[in-house]
Amino acid sequence: MPDKPSDLVQGTLDMLILKTLALEPMHGYGISVRIEQMSKGVFRLNAGSLFLAIQRLERDGLIDGEWKPTENNRRARYYTLTAKGRKRLDSETREWGRQVAAIGRILETS
């Protein structure tokens, strides 16, 4: 399954999913589309890793899932960010920012 996000580290995928859900509750496909759109096609998720990450986040209590009807009358599981998830997103965003800045500084000096 060759796919773009193969270089996405586990932590980052979790962070991206949390970020997506911070905007509004969404189903799996919605998350995938949103990430693809926001990254302008750089990150394309495959269903396996997406649902694996969703399962992990749900078990950790960072997101909650709920069955709801979709616009075209099917059932889909919509995921919502929990308070704990929001906290995690904040701390991970901060940490990410710190790391990016640090890496940037290293790359600039060389």
Binding site: M1, A47, F51, L52, G61, R75, A76
Partner: protein
């Protein structure tokens, strides 16, 4: 919180698998639908859109599998699958499974059984609070006066006044108790039975911190004056056995040795005093000694009568060294006054008063019955330990072999895309499954073994109060050890097998001529060590078997066939020596009149019962050194007994010169005695002893009139078959001033069985209150003195044969494997004109080499190890050549049997089939 959530979700997907699956299906389906809908919006047909999505995203099933494997429950599920698969694999090779499980069961079972026994006999703490604070007092050194000891050459016996002195003055103890185990007669319901009683100090229960289940226990007010404390406490087991656990027994009286004692309470369940192995029936105040353990010569307050074991509970924080240091200044003066009472002087005085007072751990209680059992048990423990090692080696060999045999299967599974970790896990599951099954079988075997051992101990002999409870500590230990073996030796081949180069594995059997790389070397080491350990076990078993044989055929000097015996203790019922004498004469005459009785006689101490009387007998003309006080081991020492007329003819002891005692040897007639040859040689070397005189005693304490020696008899053994011949002197019981116990010996015409009942009723008629004890044949009595030897021999022979069986199976396994691997090579050899005899030599040579190396190591190890058991042997040295030759022969037979099948298979190899193989 999230841990719980994770767990809950995991559980749900484990137990509601279908629903969770459906939900995952639906969610992924919706995902694909939506993606397809998106593509359709871009103008592609629905069919194409779905196809494209599938192509892009990979198959739905793979995705599902991936998502499913993310949770912990997936691990559980695969373990379950592994277990299923393992069971299937083991059922496909039942031979391997059976041998492995039996091997484990033997190792675990025998160890658990023997250790459970050892623990009960030697290692268990007394069931009282803080047993580690309990210490036994002992004072080793010369004994003077009267000593009534049970162990430790009397060093653990103290006089009652000495005990009271220590109790009053010693400050290091929170309590100091005294306790002596005795046998008493309890009568009630028209019959009298023998019972075990503990004569105890008033503070006994308080010091041990034991509670009653009924009534009250003794206090210091139950130890006031000799004969004044007519009370008793029952043990829980006696209360339930004898009185049906009825509370109404309280304040009723039981008649003990003819004295009515009021039952004031019952001790709590499981409490058995300070002596492990024998639960007392009653507890009686020590002040009742004169009534309970009559001895006309000694009173309770006699300072020279040492008979009471003493146990103290040290105050918390008190060390043994400090306690001993503080006790010595209290002990010393009392010892000095005792020495003066004993009229000691010179060196004897100095040695007597310099006796130390020492403390030894009493946490396990007083080991009295255990005295002779320690060594055999330790030997058995070592033997079962070796069996466990052999079992582990055998299991290891089996697992290694199996790992190899499955290389191909594993290669195929790896080629099919199985993950390596998953395969290793699966192989480990198999090992663990075997270990678990073996453990379960081991528990069953241990339970069976323990029951078999108990059943082998005749009732009323050896240790009493043993239970067939398994010891779970050692069970877990044995299981852990075998699990470790299973993991270690299951893991190594698994690692190897899964690291294989696929191509070579799959091609292997087809192209290799001889056995390629394999673990044959490791397996050979395992076999050699098994054979070596087996040799050690066989040597031990052989020596024990020879010992038992020697004991059973030992010349006792007594003709034991067709002799019945029983004993009575009229003195317990208050009978005076004169009354006992009258009873003895009457009973003897009445028994002699019974049909089919050839002769009957009496001795005061029973033979082959470890009942010794030793004293000094000064022959006429003996000149002692000035100031010498007789001591044990002196050249005037002799064992003695009081016997009745016809004793020697009844026992089959040949009379060499002079005469037996007759009815005319009475209390009033001249004092006479009969001596054995050993005594004659020592004290009257070269002279005819008949008509010479000998005097009972030698010091100032005893000054009996001299006795005339009227007879000389052949030597015979006294204690048991093992014991040495000692100088022995017989006196007529009619001249025993303290006649109390009587042992009857009846030589009958033929079968003795119907005699027993008539003897019992005869005694019952003469004295309804006199219990008949130990009614059995003399052969049974002699046999009971060999109980330990029988148990050790029986167990060690079984263990050694099992070990030999295991080693044989292991050897067979290796050879069969080697032949299987070399089928092709053998085929080529035969095709090229190799002789079948060469092929035979090839296989047998391999097996033989392993046996010879293992056997040689084992024999050397056995030669060293057998020195440890030398003290248990009789009539055979620890390096007995015959035994060691037998071990070698047996190993050769086992090895030949193990070689036979593989060798036959090798010789029947058809070159055409072998070369076409694969």
């Amino acid at each position: 919180m999230s841990l719980f959530r994770n767990f809950a979700i995991g559980l749900r997907s484990l137990f509601r698998k279908k629903q969770v699956d459906r939900e995952l299906d639906e969610e992924l389906g919706a995902y694909l639908e939506m993606e397809a809908a998106e593509k359709m919006r871009q103008g592609i047909s629905r069919k194409d859109a779905l196809r494209e999505v599938r192509l892009e995203r990979g198959s739905l099933e793979v995705t599902k599998e991936l998502v499913r494997s993310g949770g912990w429950e997936f691990f559980v599920e695969t373990c379950w699958q592994d277990l299923h698969y393992s069971v299937r694999m083991l059922r496909k090779s039942p031979g391997f499974a059976a041998v492995a499980i039996v091997t484990l069961a033997l190792g675990i079972g025998t160890n658990t059984a023997i250790f459970s026994l050892t623990d009960q006999i030697l290692l268990r703490d007394l069931p009282v609070p803080h047993p580690e604070q309990l210490f036994i007092l002992r004072s080793p050194g010369p004994n003077h006066g009267h000593t009534w000891g049970d162990v430790d050459q009397g060093a653990q016996s103290f006089s009652y006044p000495m005990y009271k002195d220590l109790r009053e003055r010693a400050t290091v103890f929170s309590g100091l108790l005294a306790c002596r185990r005795i046998t008493v007669n309890v009568s009630g319901h028209g019959e009298t039975q023998a019972a075990h009683a503990d004569l105890i100090s008033g503070n006994f229960f308080q010091t041990l911190e034991v509670q009653p289940v009924l009534g009250r226990l003794f206090t210091s007010s139950d130890e006031t004056a000799p004969g004044a404390n007519t009370v008793a406490v029952l043990s829980y087991s006696y209360w339930s056995r004898q009185f049906g656990a009825e509370a109404s027994i309280l304040n009723k009286s039981v008649t003990v040795n003819g004295v009515p004692l009021t039952v004031v309470g019952v001790a709590r369940k499981g409490f058995y005093g300070v002596q492990i192995g024998l639960t007392p029936d009653l507890f009686i105040p020590v002040t009742m000694k004169a009534q309970m353990a009559p001895n006309p010569n000694q009173t309770l307050e006699d300072r020279t009568d040492r008979w009471l074991p003493v146990v103290g509970r040290l105050k918390p924080g008190m060390t043994v060294a400090r306690a001993e240091a503080e006790l010595q200044p209290i002990y010393q003066p009392t010892l000095e006054s005792d020495a003066k009472l004993l009229k000691l002087s010179g060196d004897d005085f100095k040695r007597f008063i310099s006796k130390p007072l020492l403390l030894i751990s009493g946490a396990h209680g007083r080991l009295v019955l255990q005295d002779g059992a320690q060594e055999p048990l330790l030997v058995l423990m070592s033997m079962v330990g070796l069996v466990l090692v052999i079992a582990c080696a055998n299991l290891a060999g089996l697992l290694v072999a199996r790992g190899e045999a499955r290389q191909r299967e594993i290669g195929v599974r790896l080629a099919m895309g199985a993950k390596r970790t998953r395969l290793i896990r699966q192989l480990l599951t198999e090992s663990l499954l075997i270990a678990t099954a073996g453990g379960a079988a081991g528990v069953a075997l241990a339970w069976w073994c323990l029951n078999a051992i108990m059943a082998a101990i005749p009732p009323g002999q050896g240790m009493l109060g043993l239970v067939t409870n398994l010891d779970f500590r050692v069970l877990w230990f044995a299981i852990a050890l075998t699990l470790a073996t299973a993991i270690l030796f299951g893991f190594a081949p698994a690692m190897r097998a899964t690291r294989l180069d696929l191509q070579s594995t799959l091609k292997d059997q087809g192209s290799n001529v001889s056995d390629g790389r394999s673990n044959v070397g490791l397996r050979k080491v395992l076999i050699v060590s098994q054979v070596a350990l087996t040799a050690v076990l066989l040597a031990g078993a052989g020596l024990f078997a020879r010992t038992l044989m020697n004991l059973e055929h030992a010349n006792l000097g007594v003709n034991t066939s067709h002799v019945l015996q029983f004993s009575v203790a009229p003195d317990f019922n208050g009978s005076t020596p004169a009354q006992t004498l009258a009873f003895a004469d009457r009973a003897r005459n009445e028994i002699a009149a019974l049909p089919s009785v050839r002769s009957v006689s009496i001795s005061s101490a029973p033979i082959f019962a470890n009942d010794d009387y030793v004293s000094n007998f000064t022959p006429e003309g003996y000149v002692p050194q000035p100031g010498h006080v007789p001591q044990p081991g002196d050249d005037t020492d002799a064992s003695y007994d009081y016997i009745g007329p016809n004793y020697f003819s009844t026992m089959g002891i040949p009379l060499i010169a002079g005469r037996e005692f007759t009815e005319s040897d009475t209390a009033e007639s001249p004092k006479v005695c009969v001596i054995n040859q050993k005594l004659a040689q020592r004290s009257f070397a070269g002279r005819n002893p008949i008509g010479l005189h000998i005097t009972h005693g030698g010091g100032k304490l005893h000054a009996d009139p001299p006795m005339e020696i009227v007879g000389l008899v052949a030597n015979s053994k006294w204690d048991d078959a093992r014991s040495d011949i000692v100088p022995f002197l017989y006196m007529p019981y009619s001249q025993d001033k303290n006649l109390g116990h009587l042992a009857f010996y009846i030589r009958t015409e033929r079968d003795q069985a119907p005699m027993a009942a008539s003897l019992r009723s005869l005694i019952q008629r003469l004295d309804p209150n006199l219990p008949v004890n130990n009614l059995r044949t003399l052969e049974e009595q002699v046999g009971s003195s060999m109980l330990n030897d029988r148990l050790v021999t029986g167990l060690s022979v079984s263990l050694a044969l099992l070990a030999a069986l295991l080693a044989g199976l292991g050897l067979y396994g290796v050879l069969a494997y080697v032949v299987a691997r070399r089928t092709r090579e053998i085929g080529i050899r035969i095709a090229l004109g190799g002789e079948r005899a060469d092929i035979l030599r090839l296989v047998v040579g391999q097996g033989g080499r392993l046996t010879v190396v293992g056997g040689a190591i084992g024999i050397v190890a056995a030669l060293v190890a057998m020195r440890w058991v030398a003290s248990l042997l009789y009539g055979v040295t620890a390096h007995d050549p015959l035994t060691f030759i037998a071990v070698v022969v047996l190993l050769a037979i086992v090895s030949a049997m193990a070689c036979y099948l593989p060798a036959r298979r090798a010789m029947r190899v058809d070159p055409m089939i072998a070369l076409r193989y694969e």
